[in-house]
């Protein structure tokens, strides 16, 4: 029972309701008894217009640990998601989600989701998380784009 974590998550929910970027959605998951679990959210991230990621909304889950906001949440795409910085399990490797790097307790859900949207179109070649997408991104752009477009089709809006 960490009061700070739950208070902050209620804040996040209010903030998101007041103001969230166009095309995104986010909601807490429900527990079996019908109550809401503020420590686990589902969200959708639209691919940016004018990029190979466009016309799709990519599903993620956001899990907030009990130590949030001292510790960052864990963001996951579906397992096997094709992107150089996403682990085979779907876990996102992003500096603002890393306690040792750029995570700050003040970072909001909106900033996280925008950060992940940005990561989709601008992968970081210095932190590879999966081989196929990383290799293709570095060595075979055509193959990379083909796979990304295929994936976008599966998550069409």
């Amino acid at each position: 029972m960490n009061s700070l974590c739950l208070q902050r998550l209620q804040e996040e929910r209010k903030k998101w309701r007041k103001d969230h970027p166009f095309g995104f959605w986010a909601k807490p998951t429900k527990k079996e008894d019908g109550s809401m679990n503020l420590q686990k959210w589902e969200a959708g991230i639209p691919g940016r217009e004018g990029t190979i990621w466009k016309d799709a909304v990519y599903p993620i889950t956001i899990e907030y640990p009990d130590d949030y906001p001292s510790k960052p949440p864990k963001v996951k795409f579906p397992a096997g998601f094709y992107h150089p910085n996403i682990y085979p399990s779907g876990t996102v490797c992003l500096s603002i989600l890393n306690e040792d790097q750029d995570w700050k307790p003040a970072i909001t859900m909106k900033q996280i989701l925008l950060g992940v949207q940005d990561l989709l179109t601008s992968p970081n070649p210095d932190s590879p998380a999966q081989e196929p997408a990383w290799r293709a991104y570095a060595k075979n752009v055509q193959e990379y784009e083909k796979k990304v477009l295929e994936q976008a089709r599966r998550y069409t809006k």
Partner: protein, 614 residues
């Protein structure tokens, strides 16, 4: 005999007051055993001891109320039995979890004049702190970690509560560091324990995608994903169905091929030293080094890795999946040899199995002397908290907390630093954020009242808006808010809002004046003498909703001027101590026996040496 000493110290009148007092001791472990003895010798009238644990062999070196014959017996009852013969206090032992509100409801806590925490975990500490806040009963918090220890008296409403300062929790490491770029031995240990061991022997759920969350139904895509995750499965398959000959393949894969793959990612190594894949190494099954205190050579580690992998493969066949246990020799040796081999590859200094056990098990040795000193301070300071001493001005913030200093290099001049207590942190998520009260229902309304009705009653009674939200803090679930009323028609019983449930009710910002009704925490009690439902009155407080995400204040820097206080003492700032205290408190303690206190957002107490002017 000890009683006489205390009697002289506090005077007859107060001593007889003490004999009428009831105290609660939570925890009968390292600090608890010492503290129980102290409390008895001080002469408190009635002492209740709560502990849910049983005695383990490893407790015997410091928990002196226990003997070998007591192993596996309940700590609370055994401790009480051990001290009964010299006790004039009434002693009551409870084997149970202090957070179990059916056994220990708030109404039970009410009987005590003071609570003593001698706990080993953060959640129970937080819980007792909250009970102390609900009841306005003082709490003496204490903890040790190795040579370090602390006590903190908590007087609700007057001094900082346990949660007024952020508690640092064990560090987690980013997955990227663990999997690709370790730079410390601890990264290799985490890799070996949480990733490799889990992958090979633990069922590997952590990183294995299941069919449902593939996020696609396209068969060719599923095939691709499977191919990609095959490598993860492969190792698991090898140990599950393979024979001993696979061990060499495992070594090759982990320590040669995987490293070669990492090396191909050139960007990773532009600013880092490149790892060196193992050369042509063969594990030998003779000349195995079994000395856990010796520094093993690379060959020793590889031999041990092969040996322990084989043993664990065999065990896996009968045990299905294994869970890491630092006290299981095969598992420990597996993790240690894998971590050391990986460390060698990444040019990191290897360590002995004994050292790695401490890292893998998050062990800081518990030291009996520290426990005894801390228990002594805890009981001594309780006299001041209970206002039993005739000394210098006894305002709550004139009572000291205490930290050990010398052993942890906090100060080279003295062993203890005793900063005075600070008033409650206005931003504290526990003591400052809420008003608190108890809602009492009778059985019938508990069974029939709907959540929606309860919400309406609370709203009307305490002045919340239509946008109020209700959070069940006991089971971390949101029951209702501005956008969620699905559960309104369910009964309290149906929602399992049992005795002891803590509900946090808060409001959204109102459009008119940016203030909200101050949030309230309610503790649910059941009492059939109550007519339907009872809500005690609370003052209506409106607060300005602060932006929680604004940057916290920068630590205030004191100028080191002497501070004069009214009792003829001069407090002299000790610069060296000041910086160190803060650093010291940031050490991660929380998963360590009895440990706790850490980070303070502000440096605001007089952390000082006291020189009395005669």
């Amino acid at each position: 005999m000890g009683s006489n000493g205390i009697e002289r110290l506090v005077g007859n009148e107060r001593y007889s007051k003490m004999q009428g007092m009831k105290v609660l001791l939570v925890g009968a472990g390292g600090i608890g055993c010492e503290l129980l003895k102290n409390l008895i010798l001080m002469g408190f009238g009635e002492i209740h001891v709560v502990d849910l644990d049983t005695i383990d062999m490893s407790n015997l070196n410091r928990q002196f109320l226990f003997r070998q014959r007591d192993i596996r017996k309940a700590k609370a009852t055994t401790a009480v039995r051990a001290v009964e013969y010299f006790s004039n206090s009434k002693l009551v032992a409870h084997q149970g979890n202090i957070m179990d509100s059916e056994v220990f409801p708030l109404s039970w806590f009410k009987q005590f004049n003071i609570l003593f925490n001698a706990l080993d975990n953060l959640s129970a500490r937080r819980y007792v702190n909250k009970m102390s806040q609900f009841l306005n009963v003082p709490l003496l918090e204490s903890g040790t970690a190795g040579f370090d220890g602390h006590i903190q008296p908590i007087i609700p409403g007057k001094t900082e509560c346990f949660d007024c300062t952020a508690k640092e929790t064990p560090k987690t490491f980013p997955i990227c560091t663990i999997r690709s770029t370790p730079s410390q031995l601890v990264h290799c240990v985490v890799w070996a324990k949480n990733f490799l061991f889990q992958q090979l022997f633990g069922g590997g759920e952590q990183e294995m995608p299941s069919q449902e969350d593939m996020g696609t139904n396209d068969p060719s895509e599923i095939e691709r994903i499977n191919q990609e995750t095959d490598e993860l499965y492969q190792l698991h398959e090898w140990v599950q169905y393979g024979d001993e000959t696979k061990v060499y393949d495992i070594i090759k894969k982990l320590f040669v091929h995987d490293i070669e793959k990492l090396l191909m990612i050139e960007n990773l190594w532009r600013t880092r030293r490149k790892p060196v894949p193992l050369g042509n190494v063969q594990p030998y099954s003779e000349d195995i080094n079994n000395d856990h205190h010796a520094m093993w050579s690379l060959q020793d580690n590889i031999n041990k890795f092969a040996q322990s992998t084989k043993i664990l493969m065999k065990r896996l066949k009968s045990e299905k999946s294994l869970e890491f246990d630092k006290d299981d020799q095969d598992m420990l040796e597996f993790v240690a040899s894998a971590a050391n081999t990986r460390a060698h590859i990444f040019n990191i200094q290897m360590k002995t199995v004994f050292d790695i056990k401490q890292i893998a098990g998050n062990i800081i040795p518990a030291i009996v002397t520290t426990n005894a000193i801390i228990a002594g301070l805890s009981s001594l300071v309780s006299l001041r908290v209970l206002n039993l001493l005739d000394i210098i001005s006894n305002g709550p913030t004139n009572i000291p907390m205490a930290f050990t200093a010398k052993a942890s290099n906090m100060s080279s001049h003295r062993y203890l630093v005793a900063p005075l207590l600070a008033p409650p942190n206005p931003k504290c998520p526990v003591c400052s954020h809420y008003q608190r009260t108890v809602i009492t229902l009778n059985q019938e309304s508990w069974q029939s009242m709907k959540l929606g009705d309860l919400i309406k009653k609370i709203r009307d009674r305490y002045g919340f808006s239509e946008e109020m939200s209700v959070m069940d803090m006991t089971s971390n679930r949101l029951l209702a808010d501005f956008d969620f009323d699905d559960l309104y028609s369910q009964t309290l019983q149906g929602l399992r809002l049992n005795i002891g449930t803590i509900l946090a009710v808060s409001d959204s910002i109102s459009k008119e004046d940016d203030t909200v009704r101050k949030p309230i925490e309610f503790y649910l009690e059941l009492d059939n003498l109550v007519n339907e439902i009872d809500f005690p009155a609370l003052p209506l407080v409106r607060v300005i909703q602060e932006d929680e995400t604004e940057n916290p204040e920068e630590p205030k820097v004191d100028d080191g001027e002497p501070i004069f206080v009214d009792n003829g003492a001069i407090l002299i700032e000790d610069e060296e101590t000041r910086a160190e205290v803060d650093k010291q408190r940031k050490r991660a303690y929380s998963n360590v026996e009895n440990a706790s206190i850490t980070k303070r957002p502000k440096v605001d107490e007089a952390d000082a040496a006291i020189i009395l002017l005669d």
